[in-house]
């Protein structure tokens, strides 16, 4: 008798849970999928998980009765591993939203899974502009930067300064190819010429052969269409082989503050490149960076990828609150996010376009000389700003099916 009664109670309880879920579900599960152990782990990795944690705390949603869970995993820069994790997260772990997902090859693969399963991807780490162009999806928002923006800002500035012949050192995967393609377009449009390029395998340690080929090309600009350790090693070894001393200029098309930190100002000084976030831009970024670095194991300042995780989640939470509950419907949530203007202390005011592209200004930086720097992490001088509406690929040139023409 007692047993039957408790079974009955259980049934009632389950009924409540089920009905609660349909009306006002206030549970969210966030998955940070990133490189936790490889060459990109400093610019994403544990810092991205920390940024997500900070966004959850700062959102104040827990006090309003929300239950927010956070998990993270290492995709090892392998698209197959990433998609396996993604499917498991969606099917078993019931993850609502994917954050970070750096590495363009990985991002394009996860983008497909997320679309198929109607989940959400806010990509803050991958560079390829295809995520909001030919491969755009109603479930994906590309938050921080992309290859078109990098090419447009850095490429144009360098051609204007007289660098009208280019040679590329390109990482041999989706990202490098996209960056080279987009930069080539910008250079040619501005009247410059691309003399050639060499594709190197991802995660190479020796670049001397490639640098010699760049040297022999006599191009004025050696464009580094790679990232992370590949870029820092290229820059360091270019100095060794007298590339800069010989009159050629290096263009780090994608550099992060963690790269500059690891190179040291002696080697990195004078480099021009574009980012959309720097910790020392204004009071808002400084306050966030201070809190962030205090909680980082090596006291590192946030990279733009990590800042993007925070900023993207803050906006996602705003959309959830506006909807009054979690619909567990990726496309619907993204639709809501696109309808609201974005505003946070890290990236300022902005918006998300119909193709999923998050819009904000881009900053052209120059690395300080050692004498100009006041200490660790004081590395950048702002030399130019591209307004939000000009920084990214105009919708008129978009191949994204979501854009109605």
């Amino acid at each position: 008798m007692k047993q039957r009664f408790s079974a009955l109670l259980l049934g009632v309880a389950l009924g409540f849970v089920a009905s609660g879920a349909s009306a006002q579900d206030k549970t969210v599960k966030i998955g940070v999928l990133t490189d936790n152990s490889g060459l990109y782990s400093d610019l994403g990795g544990a810092g991205s998980t920390l940024a997500a944690q900070m966004a959850i705390e700062d959102s104040g949603l827990a006090a309003k009765g929300w239950k927010i869970d956070l998990i993270s995993a290492d995709h090892q820069n392998k698209p197959d591993i990433a998609t396996t994790i993604a499917r498991q997260w969606i099917d078993v772990e019931k993850v609502d939203i994917f954050m970070d997902v750096l590495n363009s090859g990985v991002a394009l693969a996860v983008n497909n899974v997320v679309k198929e399963k109607n989940s959400i991807l806010i990509d803050t780490g991958a560079a390829t502009s295809d995520l909001t162009n030919a491969q755009c999806s109603p479930n994906t928002v590309h938050w921080v930067y992309d290859t078109y923006m990098l090419a447009n800002s850095t490429g144009q500035a360098l051609v204007k300064a007289g660098g009208d012949t280019w040679y590329f050192l390109t990482a041999d995967y989706a990202f490098g190819a996209a960056l080279e393609r987009d930069t080539t377009a910008v250079v040619q449009k501005a009247g410059g010429k691309v003399l050639g390029s060499v594709k190197h395998p991802l995660n190479s340690s020796d670049f001397s052969s490639f640098l010699l080929q760049a040297q022999a090309s006599k191009a004025k600009i050696v464009g580094l269409a790679n990232a992370g350790g590949d870029t820092t090693n290229s820059i360091k070894q270019a100095a060794e082989f007298g590339i800069v001393a010989g009159g050629q200029k290096l263009a780090g098309l994608l550099l992060f503050i963690t790269d500059v930190h690891s190179l040291g100002l002696n080697v990195a000084q004078g480099l021009n490149f574009t980012e959309t976030f720097y910790w020392d831009l204004n009071d808002g970024t400084r306050a966030f960076a201070k809190r962030f670095s205090e909680r980082m194991k090596n006291k590192a300042m946030p990279s733009m990828v990590q800042a993007g995780v925070y900023s993207g989640l803050i906006h996602y939470f705003k959309a959830l609150e506006a909807m009054g509950g979690n619909p567990h419907d990726g496309a619907k949530a993204v639709e809501k996010m696109k309808s609201m203007p974005t505003d946070d202390p890290l990236f300022g005011q902005g918006s998300i376009r119909v193709d999923g592209r998050k819009i904000h200004p881009a900053y052209l930086f120059e690395v300080k000389k050692p004498s100009e720097s006041k200490g660790p992490w004081d590395y950048y001088k702002l030399v130019g700003t591209v307004p939000a509406d000009q920084a990214f690929r105009p919708l008129s040139e978009s191949a994204c099916p979501l854009v109605k023409k």
Binding site: E240, T258, V267
Partner: protein, 287 residues
């Protein structure tokens, strides 16, 4: 044609690292019968020790060349005494798994504290700058690496193949019981040999610190290639590993020129070919 000379030279430079590392592996395998998967980790430790000596102790590159191999060598000997020695007589697989585990732990610890992008280490002032050879600009430091590692490789070969100590060592691997009967402390010799092999890797680490970033994963990226070099050259053959090290550096350099996309794979393609034709490696003898 000029570009080709340049690529040959650059290949030789990379070959120096392969030679130094595969030499250490060959020494350890030859004497201890251990496939030392921790080799990449100790190579990385060599670079880190050089970094710490400079930044914490103010000790320059030249002293680091001497001290780092000794410090890391001692670390290696402690490993051998406390762990590896218990594996004598067991299958190769046990040594491989143990050293692989050690490598993962060491790399994980370094990555936890220093991140993945690495730390800067400058080229010493005496070796800065470069020479114009007509067909290429050769950084002085790279030239130094080739010459220095060649000398170290040949010295190691001489030590093992031509001296009394080397003779004891080789005898101890052939028949430890008999050598012990002559009053030679075999376990101590084995510990020292492991220290020597590890020290060679650390030396390569110091040499590479000014060229690459001092990164926790610098060894992991290299070690697989070095294993392929050892397999091609023939496990346990000292001269074989030196020559294949340099030769594969050159072949890889040429690939970087003719078909750069394959430069990370060419060594493994060669390995497959060699294993098909001569499973003991180019210079190896059948067991």
């Amino acid at each position: 044609m000029q570009a080709l000379y340049a690529q040959l030279l650059v290949g030789l430079i990379n070959g120096s690292f392969y030679a130094l590392l595969s030499l250490g592996l060959a020494v350890i395998f030859g004497m201890l019968n251990i496939i030392n998967f921790a080799h990449g980790a100790v190579y990385m430790m060599g670079a880190f020790v050089a970094y710490f000596l400079l930044n914490l102790g103010g000790i320059n590159y030249w002293w680091a060349l001497l001290l780092a191999p000794i410090i890391v060598g001692i670390f290696g000997m402690i490993l051998e005494r406390t762990m590896l020695q218990w594996l004598t007589g067991l299958d190769h697989l046990y040594g491989l798994l143990l050293t692989f585990g050690i490598a993962l732990i060491v790399q994980g610890v370094f990555q936890n504290y220093f991140g993945s992008s690495g730390l800067p280490y400058a080229i010493p002032d005496q070796l800065k700058g470069g020479m114009n050879l007509g067909f290429m600009f050769l950084p002085v430091y790279r030239g130094w690496v080739v010459v220095f590692s060649l000398v170290v490789c040949l010295a190691t070969w001489f030590l093992i193949e031509k001296t009394q100590l080397g003779a004891y060592l080789r005898a101890a691997t052939e028949n430890p019981t008999l050598v012990r009967a002559f009053g030679i402390n075999v376990p101590r010799m084995i510990t020292l040999t492991y220290g020597l092999g590890v020290g060679l890797a650390a030396l390569a680490g110091v040499l590479s610190a000014p060229i690459n970033q001092v990164r926790p994963l610098m060894g992991a990226d290299l070690i697989i290639v070095v294993f392929a070099v050892v397999v091609i050259g023939g496990m346990g053959s000292i001269m074989g590993s030196i020559i294949t090290g340099f030769a594969l550096g050159v072949i890889e350099g040429l690939t970087k020129y003719f078909y750069p996309e394959a430069s990370n794979t060419v060594v493994f393609v060669l390995m497959v070919l060699v294993l098909l034709v001569k499973p003991t490696g180019l210079t190896g003898r059948a067991a």
